[in-house]
Amino acid sequence: MQVQVLYFGVLKDVLRRNCEQIDLGADASVDDLLSRIRTLQPVSGLPWNSLAIAVNKFYVQRDHLLADGDEVALLPPVSGGCEASECAA
């Protein structure tokens, strides 16, 4: 099967792409996809386990099973609104 992967924030800069199609075996999970990306793009310094994953615009867990044609977004910790340390206080 094939999924469309979207990259945001620091991922987009480090991996130098906004999106790509990735081929996976049947019954692949989000974890399998992340392993595949890390094999294809062996870059350092990315906080892989802090990422949230959305499939077809809904947050999912790492054991979520993917389907052909899914849109999978890799989301670094978000920073909308105003400056984090001030607003969170």
Partner: protein, 152 residues
């Protein structure tokens, strides 16, 4: 209810004039603006980007939750994208309610929750370089802390 992204300046006055209604006794506003520094490092400008389709869904969901959880009548939740200069509004939240207590609580909950869960990111451009702002960790329900911290 108004949920929207703006690529140019947020028309705050127009939005605020539009939300007030007869039953309202309180209008609480949060206007998030671009500061000229981060921890003393001088900021030139910011660039915001979003996973727009998902972020709009999330923002709608937050607004609907507020209308259910708090005794408020109406909500505005709008965010700017693209390049923002110092002093410009990045996010505008307005909550209209019969009484101020619920409006304050709902407004605070909206900005705090937006900052943790809505897929929007900010790149800070300083006089001496640019960096993606560190976000807050996602809530446990989205990214379990059981995942080992791993830099790869």
């Amino acid at each position: 209810m108004k949920i929207e992204f703006y690529q140019s300046q947020i028309p705050s006055d127009e939005i605020l004039a539009g939300i007030k209604g007869g039953p309202d006794g309180a209008l609480v506003l949060f206007d998030g603006i671009v500061r000229d520094n981060t921890r003393g490092r001088q900021t030139l400008y910011l660039v915001y980007e979003a996973y727009e389709a998902m972020a709009l869904e999330q923002m709608r969901s937050l607004a609907n939750q507020v209308l259910t959880k708090f005794a408020v009548r109406d909500v505005v939740l709008v965010h700017r994208l693209g390049r923002l200069e110092i002093g410009e509004t990045s996010v505008l939240i307005a909550v209209a309610s019969a009484h101020r207590g619920a409006a304050f609580e709902a407004c605070r909950w909206l900005i705090d929750t937006l900052k943790k869960t809505v897929p929007i990111w900010k790149k800070e451009h300083f006089v001496d370089g640019a960096v993606w702002a560190d976000g807050e960790p996602f809530p446990e329900a989205i990214v379990p802390t059981a995942l080992p911290v791993q830099l790869g």
